[in-house]
Symmetry: C2
Subunit: 227 residues, 2 copies
């Protein structure tokens, strides 16, 4: 009789002020006590995988995501969990900075947004999961307009630009970037201005998801690249 346990884990990214964050939890009790880890846990008998991730996220962090997709299933290292054979389906998700606020710590858990550069040694193979998720994020940013999942509904063009430069770690020419982005017709200029401390006032923009869906149906291909 098979005794493999099935878990889900979530790599949730947040972005704010030129920094990429990942959502981590610390179980106050349990075997891998002091380690930080990704939110996740065992799948219930009568629960779909995606529901399991959402439930764990809700229970452990109270974060709601803008975007969520299956990343990879980790099950080649038999001893990735030293206690039992556990295979974990990892999901990767994006939240906007308005949600970079966490509920007060529960009795059992600490929750924190940690800068990608400062991620410590995590429990299990969770560092590997994050590495894989970052690769996916970088790749996908260039051929799907998922970056908007990391921004508030209305955003500055400069925020969008900085998001790309930050995550891809590349320079971008502002004029070319704007030209390319606008050429898809999936971004709408609003009449509102952001209140900023300094510099010329800037209009807020919105991502038109429905326009993008239309393009996708027509087989149109989003793609944004840099030298």
């Amino acid at each position: 009789m098979q005794q493999i346990r099935l878990a889900v884990d979530a790599i949730i990214f947040g972005y704010k002020e030129m920094e990429l964050y990942v959502l981590l939890i610390q179980q106050k009790f349990g075997s891998q006590n002091s380690y930080w880890a990704l939110p996740g846990g065992l799948v219930k008998e009568d629960e779909s995988l995606i529901d399991a991730v959402k439930r764990e996220l809700q229970e452990e962090t109270n974060v709601k995501v803008n975007y969520l997709e299956q990343l990879y299933t980790f099950g080649d290292d038999i001893t990735r969990d030293p206690r039992n054979r556990v295979v974990s389906v990892a999901y990767f998700g994006l939240v906007d900075p308005t949600k970079l606020i966490l509920k007060a710590d529960t009795d059992a858990d600490n929750v924190a947004w940690v800068k990608i550069k400062n991620v410590p040694n995590l429990a299990f193979d969770h560092n590997e999961m994050i590495t894989k998720a970052i690769m996916r994020l970088k790749d996908k940013l260039t051929y799907k307009p998922i970056g908007f999942g990391l921004l508030p509904e209305k955003f500055l063009f400069s925020e969008l630009e900085n998001l790309y430069t930050t995550i891809l770690e590349k320079e971008i020419d502002r004029r070319n970037f704007r030209k390319k982005m606008l050429s898809f017709g999936i971004i709408e200029e609003t009449e509102e201005f952001a209140n900023k401390k300094s510099g010329r006032p800037a209009k807020l923009y919105k991502f038109k998801y429905s326009e993008y869906q239309k393009l996708e149906r027509d087989g149109y291909h989003f793609e944004i690249k840099f030298a």
Copy 2:
């Protein structure tokens, strides 16, 4: 106590003479008796996922693959297997036409290469798996040189070209295709000629995998597109 079962399934593609095939089995006994299905089965306690796929392929079909990667984990439909809760990690693989020969049927199974266009209603959600695998194959063909996994070691340029037109269902300009393909420097011309029934004799070519690895290390990006 969790009672979810964990399985693997394999979507294995073969290509020959302008046709794309998928490898199917038919269990002669068992509950979903007469249905054809993908090769696959439960993962053993002490077995990695990838080993499980390879073992099942070996046991059920005796086919060795040129290329194998994890595709997707199917576990959102709780009743995808009507008997038990089974979550299945699907892998997608490629074999070259020299291997499009199958061992004699075992006592328990029929095995067959079935043209993509002729795939019948399969057991479980296996049609869905194939659909997803075809999408992945089409996408990946354009940005990774995996097509060679469907060809013999030495092949004609026209075979490579036909493989692309067949799978992507698009026309290609022969001159542009050749120019682009050769521009990567990952294809080598041999001194051998193929024996064909008619037409001008054609040289055989080889895929230089090591050259491609070198390019990849240098961050070079393979990409082949069509109008």
